[in-house]
Symmetry: C2
Subunit: 437 residues, 2 copies
């Protein structure tokens, strides 16, 4: 068994010594064991197949209870059947191919990327990368404020160490935040950089010039150390200003520097507005079919097998219907346009707010805006959140001491002026209370 | 934050000092952080709710791409909507209630069990328990042969140490195998016992007398150490002989000894023949609403959040249709009867096999039978598997050196005599080859 892990490690080291150095202890041990799913994969298509512990009619067709079959009657018989049975551990082949085509619709042919591996939503993709490339003491650079769950996925679970630097300075985005976070790390020590473009909670995507600075800073950092750049592409495509690049930074980072390996985590959750489905993907910057792609696939499958057996077949097959629809792009664009309308409504409403109370940080994409409370008020974001819940029938998210995250993706455009009005009234009331006490 | 983890630990220690001792280092740190899902849960029902990063029409309704909505048109509008949006981290309330009722249909009211927590299939439930109660060096007792993935979930991921003893001796089941596996462990050292009834790969459930011996041996072991008894109830209900108990051993273990804490992992995968759905549950032996139930719920949610954000809403809502069907029990029973027919066909076919080649180990339940190759032949299970694949268009699973696992759940009853015939011919050919060389 140790031989099988060693074979995957050798293939990775041959293709990218930096990537091998970046593997965690768990990542080095990981491979897809030759047990039941492995043996079942070898027996696929045999006339007498008694390998898998799943109930079929004896000829490969599912045997659902009637209510389940009925609930999935919107699927044609063949996809319905596959929706009810186990997915291969790497994901359903057609879904992987269709997602790769979707990912690459604006990408030149000569930029390599693997066939994506299916995971159970974006977070599971992050957890898989955390297992393989995180681990005790590993430095993870993230610009702050950042999505709190990164802490759970990397630090709480694997013992990695989050290093952070501000993403905004004097109300402006700082493209060098990630390398600033790594400034104290000794040269040569491997690190993970976590990019989230468009960002959560910031709702920000760098413009062309900022993106060039970001990429240049990562290139310079890769001169110092092996760098895994994890692109959390949850919000890819949701960009509302014409001069802001829409494509994931992943594609610009492929092949940039031998010490820099980008990994793409994306999925149907936001891109196809399929939140309940938990269909995510992990993609590496190597040619499909290459030895290093096979080695990384083995490692990812080893981790997925250990944590959840196999990914969700049902929602993969549902997503496949959407991916294969001739109007897929137009349908996704319609959702972007719906959010763009809310985005503009929020921009307009926030412009009118008294800056002595709060001001928005720059935002242009994704699902959120961050509003910064004026320091002079002396009120915390959490106290504002509680006050809005209790007295204004309004929910927002508090981020750190002084920021509120507004999810405009789930508020109708028509309701946004009133939402912002309530935030303004709530902050005014709290500040007055504070001044009195 | 450390306070919130400490509060969950205190509640657990107060209700069950043994369970507190059993927590892994990760388990002690785990709690559900008060970040976005926590804040979103507080904002549920507010008129202006800008907490969650999910795309809705602004009034809580999903905005699917048309192909996805169509594919789920077999669901009524309200469940369809919930199928498309995020599940709460603990699972959808109605699903948890309906599953609890399903679990307890033959259980006396005075036996406590929590509202089950939803996870992404049985394996994910095992992984959650492994995170909370496994960890470096922790002893896990499993009777062998056992499902290989236990090794991935407990040992590979968390560093736990699997201790094993034979489940069969001279062709008979050994109910004391689990405590035999723990014989060398110093008294006082906490351990996990992993029970899988009906078993994979054995297809065996203890009869009444064997079960009494098993329970008595666990009681005696609990005199020596804190014992977490993880009941992997994947195959619950699939029992084909009238004199074999059908209920999970979990229910007999609740409240048996203060040092013994059973945990139940079960799900829709086999019980509702919903393999692709990945809906599993984790249930603890405490009253719903108790402080210890809330503390364990916080810890499980912390781990689920870190690994996959939230469980699959889509397949929970599909399962709910089946659970709420007035004929649910009859539909599940129809599947059991289908498998019972295959079980009998396999029993009959195996009876006719030449014992000098191979013989079945006792089986009476679940999805599988184990066939033991005669030692005198000198052929390995793996060589038989490869030979059957190559020359007999037949797939079975090799388990260790001398066992073949036959998944009768996926072979039609009419095909079973031919399947067994091919196994017999394949073994005969290999043995002859071996004798010649």
């Amino acid at each position: 068994m140790a031989d099988l892990a060693a074979a995957t490690n050798d293939a990775i080291a041959a293709a990218s010594p930096a990537l091998f150095e970046l593997l965690s202890p768990l990542g080095r041990r990981a491979y897809f064991p030759p047990d039941i799913p492995f043996q079942a994969a070898q027996a696929r298509g045999k006339t007498y197949n008694a390998t898998i512990g799943q109930i079929t009619d004896g000829y490969g067709q599912a045997v659902p209870v009637p209510a389940l079959g009925d609930a999935l009657s919107g699927l044609p018989p063949a996809p319905r059947n596959r929706a009810l049975l186990y997915s291969p551990v790497e994901g359903i082949a057609e879904v992987r191919k269709a997602w790769r085509a979707w990912q690459r619709r604006a990408v030149p042919d000569d930029v390599p990327s693997t066939l994506p591996l299916v995971v159970a939503g974006l977070t599971h993709g992050l957890a898989v990368v955390a297992d393989l490339f995180g681990g005790e003491g590993r430095a993870i650079a993230i610009a702050s404020p950042f999505w709190g769950n990164y802490r759970q996925t990397f630090a709480f679970r694997t013992g990695a160490r989050i290093l952070s630097a501000p993403a905004y300075r004097e109300g402006r985005f700082v493209p060098t935040a990630w390398v600033e976070a790594l400034a104290e790390l000794p040269a040569g020590e491997p690190a993970v950089v976590l990019l989230n473009v468009p960002s959560n909670p910031g709702g920000y995507s760098p413009d062309r010039s900022e993106r060039d600075q970001l990429v240049a800073s990562l290139f310079a950092e890769a001169e110092k150390r092996p760098l895994l750049v994890l692109c959390d592409d949850a919000y890819t495509g949701l960009v509302y200003e014409d001069d802001i690049p829409r494509e994931s930074p992943f594609w610009e980072l492929v092949g940039l520097h031998p010490n820099l390996v980008p990994v793409k985590v994306d999925g149907a959750t936001k891109e196809y507005s399929f939140f309940g489905g938990r269909v995510g993907f992990v993609t590496f910057p190597f040619a499909p079919g290459s030895e290093v792609a096979a080695a990384l696939e083995s490692k990812v499958k080893g981790v997925v097998r250990a944590v959840m057996g196999s990914p969700v077949a049902t929602t993969q097959m549902l997503l496949l219907q959407a991916l294969e629809s001739p109007d897929a792009e137009a349908h996704v664009e319609a959702i972007r346009l719906l959010l763009a309308e809310r985005y503009r409504a929020l921009q307009q409403a926030l412009e009118k707010i008294d800056e002595r109370l709060m001001r928005p940080l720059p935002f242009n994409s994704g699902c959120f805006a961050l509003v910064e409370l004026a320091e002079s008020l002396g009120v915390t974001a959490e106290s504002v959140r509680q006050h809005l819940l209790e007295h204004h029938d309004t929910g927002v998210v508090s981020v750190g001491q002084r920021h509120l995250r507004v999810a405009f993706c789930s508020v109708a455009a028509a309701a946004i002026p009133e939402l912002v009005g309530r935030m303004e009234r709530g902050v005014t009331e709290l500040a007055a209370e504070r001044a009195r006490s």
